[in-house]
């Protein structure tokens, strides 16, 4: 960061936002911030003020992704909806049986994928939709950093699917229920979070290998890669657990533990350009930790019942948006 002595607290640089209900996701569009709420609404916020709110889903929002132009949400009404900074939400897809859409992902080139029941739908940038019927419910979804290939976390492993081919997906097998999935920015590693309070990783390529990352007291449901792709931060413990992915990955190496407190980490988000990690806890506290020296800054003090449920850095890494389970939210603007 800078050479000046960092302030102990960044609290005075936080602008609060009242979202009123559980914040499922926060997301930066080019024009401002959008917040996806559990009651189906999307809030739009710019320059310190709420602009308006629109109903994106009749029921609740369960998952969200997006790019600079739109927030894309999946809901318990079985719909996939895109919401821009202006205008009404636009329906992208609707499940005829109104089954939940609770996983969704978007690639940098605009490929979209979501789940309904035991199937995955992949929609390429031209709008062509392909469906994969999976043997077990698809949970986490993520596209490969390059190419049209999707990782699907399921029962007993992770499937890697090329939606544009007829080939059967490659199945990375590991017994247990796999929940969320992350793909390293260099494409070499796939990591899933598991029901058994662990992460499981696969090294892809010529010399494939397994990586077991265990010892969490809770399920590590939030994963974030550092901008250089060399570190993977995870929630699920009393501090953020950060695994080294240099060389052959974390097998046999100890992880870093950052921001250890008497609370459970619920969300982690790496800064897009520096080895700085935002850590949100179930007691409402937010810390920012510099990985190089472990120094900590307080962003938000603990607040009962206000566990952190969402994080998003803006593209430039100047602002951090957060949301909480009680409907509190806010934006931290880093002092320059």
């Amino acid at each position: 960061m800078t050479t000046m002595t960092p302030p102990v607290s960044l609290r005075e640089h936080v602008t609060p936002i009242t979202a009123e209900t559980h914040v499922v996701a926060v997301h930066w569009l080019k024009q401002g911030l959008v917040l996806a709420l559990a009651d189906g609404r999307v809030l739009r916020w710019r320059d310190g003020a709420l602009i308006d709110s629109v109903e994106a889903h009749a029921g609740g929002i369960l998952c969200a992704t997006g790019d600079g132009e739109r927030l894309i949400t999946g809901g318990d009404d079985g719909r996939v909806v895109a919401t821009g900074f202006e205008g009404e939400p636009v329906e992208i897809a609707k499940d005829p049986k109104r089954r939940w859409v609770d996983a969704i992902t978007l690639s940098p080139s605009g490929n979209l994928a979501w789940n309904t029941g035991k199937s995955v739908q992949a929609r390429d940038e031209k709008g062509r939709v392909r469906t994969l019927d999976a043997a077990s419910t698809p949970q986490g979804l993520v596209f490969a950093p390059k190419g049209y290939r999707l990782a699907i976390a399921q029962m007993n492993g992770v499937s890697l699917w090329y939606p544009n081919t007829e080939a059967k997906p490659e199945f990375l097998e590991w017994k247990g229920s796999h929940l969320d999935v992350a793909w390293s920015p260099d494409g070499r590693f796939v990591v899933s979070s598991m029901q058994e309070n662990a992460l499981h990783g696969w090294k892809l390529g010529d010399k494939p290998g397994h990586m077991r990352m265990t010892g969490y007291p809770a399920k590590p449901r939030s994963l974030s890669w550092s901008h250089d792709g060399l570190w993977l931060a995870s929630s699920g413990a009393d501090g953020a657990i950060v695994w080294p992915f240099q060389g052959d990955g974390p097998q046999g190496k100890a992880p870093r533990e950052c921001g250890v407190r008497h609370a459970r980490v619920t969300r982690v988000a790496f800064h897009p350009g520096a080895l700085v990690l935002a850590i949100g806890y179930d007691d409402g506290c937010i810390l920012m930790v510099r990985l190089t020296d472990g120094s900590e800054l307080l962003v938000r003090p603990a607040l009962r019942g206000s566990g952190i449920s969402a994080f998003a850095w803006d593209k430039a890494g100047k602002r951090l948006a957060f949301g909480a389970e009680d409907g509190a939210a806010g934006v931290l603007v880093l002092p320059s």
């Binding site: 109104r98 939940w100 609770d102 077990s136 029962m155 017994k175 029901q195 058994e196």
Partner: protein, 320 residues
């Protein structure tokens, strides 16, 4: 933390009247809002605020315990519902007619996130007075559902004679004499008798006397699923009892559907209570033994192919 949301599991064999009962719970004017997790979404014709379709996706936990199966879809759905806290007061999980209630129940004890946000209130089983006896012969699922129940609704009593009714009641009692039993026509049972039972709450395990009715009590020792009650008229030694009950449930867990106990531990003024589902045991020291209350130790097992003599010998060896 806010109060945990109670969850009622509604089971019953095909055609017993589960959907009728569910609709009664949802439409009756009781001022409560429910989230309902159903298995045949869109086909059952259920009215209500928050209805979620489920897939009954069962998986085995990676903890080396073969009967420790849980419902993965339920963990996912409850996680989603918890984001909408305040929109409902209670959750009802309806299972398919052929479902084993154990994975549903175990989900609440095995998954920490689920256990932190919700509590299993009771397993309610709807049975059919006319056809149950046939089902007990040809459908092991029907038997499991009775054995597992905390509350049994004996439905369609208007379709049978008084003798037939007494007979079917006796057949139920042979399997599970401890559940609360309510007779009903067209599922017209008092909703209050089904909800907020706290059947898995250790503080509510006050006695484990059978819920016998005035009707004659037949013995059906031929049943492979039945209950066994064991008593030691005094204290047990926890140093002996704890390893015994742990080993027993580890080895015989697949056959033991439910277990409960109230025990007097040597030199311990408080009662030790526990309840279990297959291998999963939950136990704690509860209130003091009262003056005038007989310090005795009692266990109840409901299960399949249980060896009563072996269980009795094992338990009696734990006497202090």
């Amino acid at each position: 933390m806010s109060e945990k949301i109670p969850v009622t599991v509604l089971t019953g064999y095909l055609g017993a009247g589960k959907t009728t009962l569910l609709n009664r719970i949802l439409t009756e004017d009781h001022g409560k809002k429910f989230a309902v997790i159903v298995n045949e979404f869109g086909e059952a014709g259920i009215d209500g605020d928050l209805i979620v379709g489920a897939d009954e996706e069962i998986f085995e936990m990676n903890n080396g315990c073969i009967c420790c199966t849980v419902r993965g879809d339920l963990i996912r759905i409850l996680d989603g519902l918890m984001k909408r806290k305040g929109k409902f007061d209670a959750i009802i999980v309806e299972t398919t007619g052929l479902a084993d209630p154990a994975p549903v129940a175990q989900t609440f004890f095995v998954d920490q996130d689920v256990g932190d946000a919700t509590r299993l209130d009771a397993v309610v089983t709807v049975t059919d007075a006319k056809w149950l006896k046939d089902r007990l012969k040809d459908a092991p699922e029907a038997k499991n559902q009775i054995a597992f129940a905390d509350v049994i609704v004996l439905n369609k009593t208007d379709l049978v004679t008084a003798e037939e009714l007494a007979d079917v009641e006796a057949a139920i009692r042979a399997i599970n004499p401890y559940a609360k039993l309510h007779k009903a026509e067209r599922a017209n049972v008092d909703i209050a008798a089904l909800l907020d039972r706290k059947a898995f709450d250790l503080d509510r395990i006050l006695d484990i006397e059978p819920d016998f009715l005035e009707a004659g009590h037949h013995h059906h020792h031929a049943e492979d699923v039945r209950s066994i009650s064991l008593t030691i008229p005094g204290d047990v030694d926890p140093e002996k009892f704890m390893p015994w009950i742990n080993d027993l449930t580890q080895i015989q867990g697949p056959n033991i559907l439910r277990s409960k106990g109230i025990l007097a531990f040597k030199n311990e003024p408080r009662r030790f209570v526990f309840q279990g589902v297959h291998m999963i045991l939950d136990g704690d020291l509860q209130r003091d033994w009262k003056d005038g209350e007989t310090r005795e130790s009692r266990l109840v097992f409901i299960g399949r192919n249980l060896n009563e003599n072996e269980l009795r010998k094992g338990f009696e060896a734990c006497a202090a």
